[in-house]
Amino acid sequence: MKGYAGKYLMVDLTRGKTSVGKIEEQMALNYIGGYGFGARTLYDMLPNPAQVDPLSPENVLIWWTGPLAGTISTAGNKYAVFAKSPLTGIFGFGISSGLFASEFKSAGWDGVVFTGRSEKPVYLMIDDDNVELRNASSIWGKTTWETEEMIKEELGDESFTVASIGPAGERMVRLANITNERNRQVGRCGLGAVMGSKNLKAVAVRGTRDVEVADPQGLVRFIAELNERCQGPATEKYRVYGTPANILVHNKLGCLPSYNFQKGTFEYAEEVSGEMMLKTHVKKIIACAGCPIACDHVNQAREDYAGTVSSVDYESLALLGPNCGIRSLDAITKAVEICDTLGVDTISAGNVVGWAMECFEKGILTKEDTDGVELRFGSNEALLEALRRMCLKEGRLGKLLSEGVRRASQIVGKGSERFAVHCKGLEWAAYELRSLQTSTLGFAVSNRGADYLRSGSYQVDVKGKVDRLRLDKSRGKIVYDGENQYAVIDSLIICKFTRGIFQSMDELAKLYTLVTGLSMTGEQIVRAGERIHNVARCFNVKCGVTRKDDYPPPRAFEDPLPDDVVKGAVIKREEYEEALDSYYECRGWSRDGIPLKRKLLELGLSREAEEVGVEA
């Protein structure tokens, strides 16, 4: 089989030893790559995940590319990282892009699996077949951007691509991420903290090998066509304003979270819109390797924060902006820079700071708790100071926020759990809870916790294909289909912004076959997506996840939206139950959310059927 390198690296950090594993054809066909490989290997390597402390040496840290990386495939240079999440305690993963995955494949590897814990700080260098754990003592403590520069300098070649953690990951902040090429992140689930717990500062990779594909002529021709489609209307939003175009769209629909999800509109939305940003702050639009779309809008701040440069997307913008009541693009650009360089996920960061601001305004947190920070909505200084302290775990406030919103609200108590906006411990992304209800179902059942990237179920709401202010039993199928398709996209791995350019799942299967030479149909590949999703769910069931965990936070049911456009919108409990039942039914799971043996066997998952599956 082509496309795959056919082998992966195993690194035992405790002993400082490496070895090589093989990728078999059956693994490729059943699990595709990326998410699929991650689900398979995480399930296999942590047979009793409930017993594993995510920040202990017993956790594993797994990196996978997919078959498309390093080929010319449209927006296909992505890699994914997996571990039991220290933030959620369940299946943790995140995907990043840039050039890293291309270099990785070109070096002759599909992935790398880390076990154990290094005694001293190290980084892994991969230079084709030459792999080495190197001393990272001199870079420990540095920001992600400094780390990239220092490693390139040390290795004497700037064509090394580096993925690293910042001081937040080193300190095991539960929101810590992994950054490559400055602006690209494995953002969610706190996987940077897992790296930190293993004393692993970075992975630096340089590849010089040809990446072999089954049908190069056919592939290059097909890519020409796909790349041409990427200049059409399906991706226009991403090309022109980038994802920040969503600010005004969502504001108009009453689904732009503001003031810690107390509202669905923001009175200063214009000031932080994608349109405004393009006019006043965007200095350059850049692309990941192999991407014909180019969505990454790099901002340069002015005035108080002159000289600050960061890449600002919708999620970062909405959560660090409106969700914290912030109306200054300069401050938001600075906030993103703090998160990116010190190394935390902007989504979780904006969410937890928003929660803390609401606590402060309600008197639940006092100035004593915040070490003197006037933590009010709309205060630029408070936001930036809170972020800095969170990343460095500095003082009472920093330590509290570094736990993530679920743990922080449990520590604080006093009813603050009621407005901690998360699911399964993962902070809710910037899609309103009550005015996009299919989306909310999708978020709540996701394998990763509150997650907009696992089913895209917000699309039917935003596009007006369903009544977004209520739920019914038609929604289960929408989420189910979306999840299976997205599992394929995340396994290939290809950027979701290309989803509008593929006319069918058959075209994704065709791409897979052109690259790998393995025959695949649209139906088969969606089946693989369903299999992958079920393996990840089985891992979660082993961690204790059941129906009780598949609900949105209390605010969704208890606090009707005050905004005029969606006044009174709230999720009705009985409608939610009905929609959740319909989802389980589509999935072939029990009413308690456990996969049925029958379903697992049908997907060829006999071990999961035995270990996790239940009878109907």
Partner: protein, 162 residues
């Protein structure tokens, strides 16, 4: 061909976003493989804002040719540099003398390679595949005219907005 009629590949830094599709395509067009480290055109990214793809400029009286002690490099009338692999011994003097860094040592062959403007395809494939039209295959005269046009457009817009 008169040198003023020579077309070269030019890159607009405002449009180039560093996607490297030109590099992937070039490795395929030149050698039938996918490997950006074998590309004749290279994307330079200087953080945080600058991206530019560079390839052979078809210089007049090129330094790379002068530097070669074995006369392995010659220039065709249309400006394309030709490397005689039988003569090249990989000493790399030409690599050092090219002011743009676009004469490269091949990773496997240890012979130098220079962009041949996809003569066998009839048109540079990097230009054809560039998704943002950052790459253009034009004479320097055309390139200059485009720049003038752009400057005038900006000027007119600014005047109109006053």
């Amino acid at each position: 061909m008169e040198s003023r009629l020579r077309k070269i590949i030019v890159c607009d830094p405002d449009r180039c976003n560093g996607c490297r599709i030109c590099e992937y395509v070039c490795s395929f067009a030149s050698e039938g493989v996918l490997n950006i480290k074998k590309s004749r055109i290279r994307v330079v990214r200087i953080e945080p804002f600058l991206n530019l793809a560079v390839t052979c400029r078809k210089c007049e009286d090129p330094l790379c040719i002068k530097a070669c002690p074995r006369d392995a490099l010659t220039q065709k009338p249309n400006g394309v540099i030709v490397v005689d692999e039988n003569k090249c011994n990989g000493c790399g003097w030409c690599v050092e003398t090219c002011p743009f860094g676009v004469v490269r040592m091949h990773l496997d062959k240890r012979k130098v390679v220079v962009c041949d403007y996809c003569e066998k395809h009839g048109y540079p494939m990097c230009v054809e595949y560039c998704p943002k039209d950052a790459l253009k295959y034009v004479t320097l005269d055309q390139a200059a005219r485009e720049l003038s046009k752009k400057a005038v457009q900006i000027l007119v817009q600014e005047l109109a907005s006053r």
